[in-house]
Subunit: 195 residues, 2 copies
């Protein structure tokens, strides 16, 4: 199962780009959208997505954490960070896109791990925790069960990388072709690192 953690002012494509890939995982048993209180959550582009309350999520597999302007407020919300920490501990894999990794860092689950994030918000992100080994030049970074990606569409590349690690490169490439997507499959190539 893929649990997508949403919050107001998330970047819509951060979440729904990777979901389009992850929902095609061979052994995927479904996608759930959750938020702290449940109900409609508004992302960029005025998209309102239906969510269940986090307390109703009982099956844990892959958790996906998008980024967006909403992360700024949540990085100081101890209740949210506690729930995020618990969700990450219960999940088999934790994937984040863009400034989603700032929330993971602040929740304390990335300590002594390599991680990356959006390049335009970089200075703010790395201030969330100095105990993370931040990697600036990376399309995405894998460390144990944690996959963190750079900004927005890097999440699609990371999701394909995740599928590749589970089901092989050919299967990932097949999903990419189905989406007519030119997959940037080298996680170390990051044309935006200098931005």
């Amino acid at each position: 199962v893929v649990n997508v953690l949403l919050f107001d002012d998330f970047t819509t494509l951060d979440a729904l780009g990777p979901v389009e890939v992850l929902s095609r995982l061979k052994d995927n048993t479904g996608v759930t959208y959750a938020s702290v209180s449940g109900g409609l959550v508004r992302g960029t582009g005025n998209a309102q997505i239906a969510t269940v309350p986090l307390s109703e999520v009982k099956t844990f597999g892959i958790v996906l954490v998008p980024g967006g302007m909403g992360t700024r407020k949540l990085a100081d919300d101890e209740t949210f960070l506690g729930q995020l920490r618990s969700l990450c501990e219960k999940s088999e894999f934790v994937l984040s896109v863009c400034t989603g990794s700032a929330l993971l860092a602040k929740a304390g689950v990335l300590e002594d791990r390599k991680a990356t994030s959006n390049k335009m918000a970089w200075d703010w992100v790395i201030r969330q925790s100095r105990r993370v080994d931040w990697v600036r030049k990376a399309r995405w970074v894998v460390d144990g069960k944690f996959y963190t990606s750079s900004g927005v569409t890097a999440g699609i590349d990371m999701a394909l990388g995740f599928v590749s690690d589970r089901s092989g490169q050919d299967y990932a490439q097949k999903i990419a072709s189905g989406l007519e997507y030119l997959w940037n499959s080298d996680r170390d190539t990051d044309p935006f690192a200098g931005v």
Copy 2:
């Protein structure tokens, strides 16, 4: 204003990829999600998006029509096709992604115009109207107020092309960089045409 026309079993990324770009248009005044009856509409990846009924849409600018499996049923739904035709006539620009162009074709708004679509559904798409000048090898096609793109992520490239046509290539490239997206900016380059 951008009006996004949704229906059950649309491909989520077809709609929300381009929206992430179009919502950043210089003169964008908002994004509305509409469906024939309003309410929650379910796309791929189990994403449920809140929509207003089409009858409540009173401002017309850009209309975005995604593709997806749901198009198969709608291509035979005369009521839907009539509403789509009317929406296209009132709108300044009509953008479609993937099999969205099959609906435009069946609604009769693409007659004697060039258009493209998803390559995997190609044979079904072109059967929807022989009066369209279908262009197989194209990332996206522009003919008058109609922008039609190939499958799924080609819609993001098309949306950036649309922004480029309105506000210049530099501005489009700036949006792409903000999304850390490697824009395939040549509409005639289509690596999936042979698929």
